[in-house]
Symmetry: C2
Subunit: 428 residues, 2 copies
Amino acid sequence: MSDIQIQPKDTPTLCIGLFGFGVVGEGLYKVLQQTPSLNATIKKVCIRNAWKKRNAPAELFTDNPDDLLEDGEINVIVELIDDATAAFGIVSQALSNHKAVVSANKKMIAEHFPTLLSLQQQYEAPFLYEAACCASIPVIRNLEEYYDNDLLQSISGIVNGSTNFILTRMQEGQPDFTAALLLAQQLGFAESNPLLDIGGFDATNKLSILLAHAYGITVSPADLLFAGIQQLQPGDIAYAHEKHCRIKLVATATRLRNGQVAAFVLPQLVAAESQLFHVQDEYNGVLIESSFADRQFFYGKGAGSLPTASAVLSDISALRYAYRYAYRKKYQQVPPMLSHDFYLQVYVSAPNATAIPTDRFTRIEERFTGKGRNYITGVIAASALQQNDWWKQEGISLIVGAAGIMEDVELRSIQHQSLTLAGVKAEN
Amino acid sequence: MSDIQIQPKDTPTLCIGLFGFGVVGEGLYKVLQQTPSLNATIKKVCIRNAWKKRNAPAELFTDNPDDLLEDGEINVIVELIDDATAAFGIVSQALSNHKAVVSANKKMIAEHFPTLLSLQQQYEAPFLYEAACCASIPVIRNLEEYYDNDLLQSISGIVNGSTNFILTRMQEGQPDFTAALLLAQQLGFAESNPLLDIGGFDATNKLSILLAHAYGITVSPADLLFAGIQQLQPGDIAYAHEKHCRIKLVATATRLRNGQVAAFVLPQLVAAESQLFHVQDEYNGVLIESSFADRQFFYGKGAGSLPTASAVLSDISALRYAYRYAYRKKYQQVPPMLSHDFYLQVYVSAPNATAIPTDRFTRIEERFTGKGRNYITGVIAASALQQNDWWKQEGISLIVGAAGIMEDVELRSIQHQSLTLAGVKAEN
């Protein structure tokens, strides 16, 4: 048996081709200029309007992608454009040209994950995207490197800063949804298409990326159970307040007792005992629970130009020592199956009680009817939600309750899950 | 310029020699048996009393260190013994024999840091010790890999679970210090010598390790400004409560405006706005602030056998792909100087007002005299505290106030520091 040798680490000079010169791109350009120790320089920037006046020398810019992608000196492509389709074209060509790639485009990554995995393997080119999940919080890197064994029980997080900002405003006495959304956009941490945020699409894209690094599971975001926050009514906010909870849009993946993994993005009632309760405004927070380490919590700014640039910078820095994601849980272990075979304890409200199809529930726990506000609480199968979208119709809102996920047979909560997620003990 | 090549990762079989079979060692043994995917087995365990009955086959045990250290098949030494002097002997010999080493012994690491650095370089053997700081929280790995540029502004944390447990009990209506300490010991998260915890020595050892990975600074723990919690009086707890703060033992390192770093371990008043306020019982929490990423917070169990075993396991796992700390901030950058040239805003209480040498203060802000309780608040030079230990005499307690660190000239708080540390805005 050989000794464990320390491999000498090269620190190659990174010659960067940058796509996009928005707030993140420009911030990155400035920091790289101010941080010579990183040994990384931007050689060329590709933008749509090459003639637009910018805070950088004109000769830096081009509108021809091939000026970057076909330049043999450029060994790193940093992709920071908004258009997911164009981004995929750039990233695939860059990887095919054996260039390292750094991207923050979660939509593109989530939707093309299998192809991007193949390209990395085929061309042996590193592809890093820490900024795609929770911006400045190093969640992908930690799942990949630190929680790289099979002891991970659950991961649950507030992964979309824009919706969390809106929910915070709405629960702090400014119930106007549209005004809160507008403010989030003005402050620069909303997607250019707001539906990506408020419809839960962005959080679901992130969950599908997290599943790959947490459990080795590859799943298209479209196949995950999810909703956003645009259905929430003032009555729901009042209900949460009465229960001393906050409504948060939580992305969850939990190992069930049968070893399979339940995963979804849904609004949830979160109690004050949970770390997630205290994640306010545009901040993100991720709870990781493992057999040994107990609960771990990571918190930081999950949106905005500087936190995103910070994550991109750390990825660039990691390329200096040839870091890549090894996807160990996918390639070196047998990944668990994704399960739709579980139950959720939920609260559902509607303008009139008849709008809630109670026959679809496995169990009804409480009913409330009142003037303009009706709700029930009970247990429903995840598959029943996945198959039919009555609960996504206008005026109806569904929120995961304190007891959270339940296993199929006994309809009891998963102890660790309910503790972690909603911070409320399961009422077994 | 060459492409950035992905180096093929070996996944060598790890053949482990384990020193110590206490709760952490035994837990590790069980988990490795249950986790074949880690490809790591314990070949031999060295303990003091080889004849003692244990929950493992008798042939596994020896009391002769050389049975592990001189075994050519064993390529990893995991050191989990209490005695720091013996541990240093084991670790140095293991590294000299080109074996990878994993240790959780913060006292040993902090006190012998320069030697251990040299040994790693000379023999090219990896030495990992994530469990030595905040047990299950991957703080060393993140400082080393993710915050590896020079944009780190401050790190501050609750890094000793035992004192935090005692402080939590004392501030939740059970003011009996001795009873709280006894309970911490019974629950298994106190050092065998309680003075290491309550005297602040353990936290200071951890700070000296964190300084190496955060800033590349090597400093002996004995040269750091520090105190523990054994001086705190019920009156101090009451004062903090009146100010809606909690007293926490905080380890702090902050970059000053002149680029140098101020570092100390002292009790601090922490307001509810700070993440550290909510770190209770035996939990640990670390706040990291950088120019770009803003505030990041890591939280988890910082003491106890399973969280410690969890960190040891992650280190073992990292050895599979030849991971080592590169100490980039030390070797690839010019580390900042450690400064004693800063001021602290403090609260000092004593049984009688004359016990506080007010002439040593740069500025007095408030004085309170009452029956059995006297305090002043004001500003004092760190060097004045470092040079004289009047403030460590029995009956006197010193607590860093909300304004925290101040720069030398204007005596104004460092904005980012005071925000981060105590969660209270600087009163500029």
